[in-house]
Symmetry: C2
């Protein structure tokens, strides 16, 4: 297979972890006889510094024409304390999601037996957790009309959803549930919000098309609780953009494996793959960042092309590295810590 | 002191736990020479059944003219699977908050040493946690314009905040921080929402009036994570209505003491006190519900009248009961479980 991948390294540790994912992907490609052409492009603070905006048109052209996008991380402390700055890295992220139509953010949370002790939760609460959030990513309050009135003294953000947007996301949720345990949880706030009532009635109407899937409906506040209490009681969850933002981040820390969690953002055309961790600016250039989440994101990318064995080879390499203790300092537990690059080399040699 | 308290027992276990709080409050009042007149009024499903709406005018009259409101719980399963039913218990709650102007929901999360093992979190993560959320309760997306367009295929909910609403809530936050460790965290999503930017700039402008308070600003998704990771790193947190709904519920389960957590909703005139747990319909009438959270809510009520010793007497009684093992089945750990009423009697006898 010939693959044409847009490579958006971004800020902070982004470039370092992306380098390792490229290395491991190339090793897998070579082993299985594929050819990857990487197309680097600017994004985030790096793009603001270079050309004045976080998601330049040139980057969009490259992404649009790629088979997939592999993304590092964006965000830089110089923008952190000024949320109203005219140009911010996050705007690039939102613009990219919208422009590429990346409507479904797929965020798995699973556990690695060797990392269970890193979880803030007790072992019996977290063991066996294997859930996936599908977060709607291009609608809701993120993209509704927002602004000020009354000389700036009143602010508003409108949350809007159409039935089609809900159907599109829910369809992915039902399909994913069919490949797993056939359980789907729709997370909303239908006791308060009209948009949530639209979500709920739309999903309810789709139930008949997937008679095998058992659907439950839970309020977002209840899910925020149960995620901490019994995360292993969930399987596939679908939700709107803002609830998804909050809950997927909450879910990410319960497993103890946050530094290892990959994610995908699926669009009608192109899809994007990225680690869920941030740009970790303090670690930039120190060769200490954990590249495994980015490598696992690349594995999701292969699997999304139907290249299941290739994806599995990458996952297996990560598991082997964890067992062999070939890990960065975040996982070293006081033992020997390898560098970002060394972990990447080891994974590439072991796929 | 003569106190005139509206008593809203509500649904499910509400009446049972309220009975105990009344009993314990009366015992304290007697001991300290106060006189409480209780004014029972209908709310929730009980009110819908009786008069067709969840927060009847007669109830509002009683609450408005009371010195405070003591509230049990509302919600009934017959309304649970129909979020668009024309009349729902939750509507009563929202109407009541708005009509009484209960703009600040005070939700402490603290730990009882004897209950630490009930927490889903590891002991070292949760020990020493003592935080308070101040959730804005009468604005935001809960009360903005909501509806449908395009023949029902598009739904919207508008989130609106005014500077005054933010100031009013933030003022309570700064004041509370001054009585505690002088640390205040403002939770928002200022990298995306205009209402959050209004929150942030308003709180920033108030910092100079409280030079001793150290203020931090965190995004809601980051707080959802850190609450699970290091809950004891927080002290006072202020936030808008919907974020508060999600985060306070998340916070409630981390301590292991959820069944014991009280809350207050403060207005300009009257304030309301209630346990954070729900109406627990399955337990209705079984004399098994834990009344301690409601008793502790009544303690908050006394303290809000400046009756600190009275509040402390009630808290001390609860602590003593926990130590003596005079607890309901949720806390009995396989040991002897007392009934709701028996725990109430014991507390009343021990204040
Ligand atoms: C940076 C921010 C705009 C973004 C979001 O809220 O979507 C981030 O938190 C995420 O979840 O990818
Ligand atoms: C029942 C519901 C409307 C309510 C809310 O969302 O405010 C509840 O979850 C709460 O937190 O008191």
């Amino acid at each position: 297979m010939k693959l044409n991948i847009a490579l958006l390294a971004g800020d902070g540790i982004g470039p370092e972890v992306i380098d390792q994912a490229v290395k491991v992907s190339d090793a897998v490609a070579q082993k299985f006889g594929h050819e990857i052409t990487w197309k680097p492009a600017l994004t985030g603070a790096a793009a603001i510094d270079a050309v004045g905006e976080p998601y330049p048109d040139a980057t969009h052209e490259i992404c649009k024409n790629a088979d997939a996008v592999l993304f590092g991380a964006i965000g830089h402390p110089k923008y952190d304390n000024d949320p109203s700055a005219p140009v911010r890295p996050e705007q690039g992220l939102l613009k990219m999601r919208k422009a590429l139509g990346l409507f479904a953010n797929v965020r798995p949370t699973f556990t690695f037996p060797s990392l269970l002790d890193k979880s803030p939760l007790k072992r019996e609460r977290i063991e066996g957790t294997d859930l996936v959030f599908l977060r709607e990513l291009t609608g809701g309050i993120y993209f509704g009309e927002k602004g000020r009135k009354d000389n700036g003294d009143t602010a508003y953000d409108n949350c809007v959803y159409t039935r089609e947007e809900v159907q599109r996301l829910a369809k992915k949720g039902f399909e994913l549930a069919m490949t797993r345990s056939k359980k789907l949880c729709c997370v909303d706030k239908a006791n308060v919000l009209e948009t949530s009532r639209l979500w709920r009635e739309t999903v309810q109407a789709m139930e008949k098309d997937y008679p095998e899937v058992e659907v439950s409906y839970e309020f977002v506040d209840a899910v925020a609780m149960r995620l901490v209490q019994w995360p292993n009681s969930y399987d596939v969850l679908i939700t709107e953009n803002l609830f998804g933002d909050i809950l997927t981040d909450e879910a990410s820390v319960i497993s103890g494996s946050m530094g290892l969690m990959p994610s995908a953002s699926m669009g009608a055309e192109v899809s994007l793959f990225e680690p869920i961790h941030g740009s970790y600016p303090q670690a930039t250039g120190l060769n200490i960042a954990n590249p495994m989440a980015t490598v696992l994101s690349a594995a999701m990318m292969f699997e999304n092309f139907g290249l299941m064995e290739e994806g599995k080879a990458m996952r297996d390499a990560v598991n082997k590295a964890l067992e062999a203790g070939v890990v960065t300092e975040d996982l070293a537990n006081g033992g020997k810590a390898y560098g970002t690059k060394e972990v990447g080399d080891w994974l590439a040699a072991n796929v």
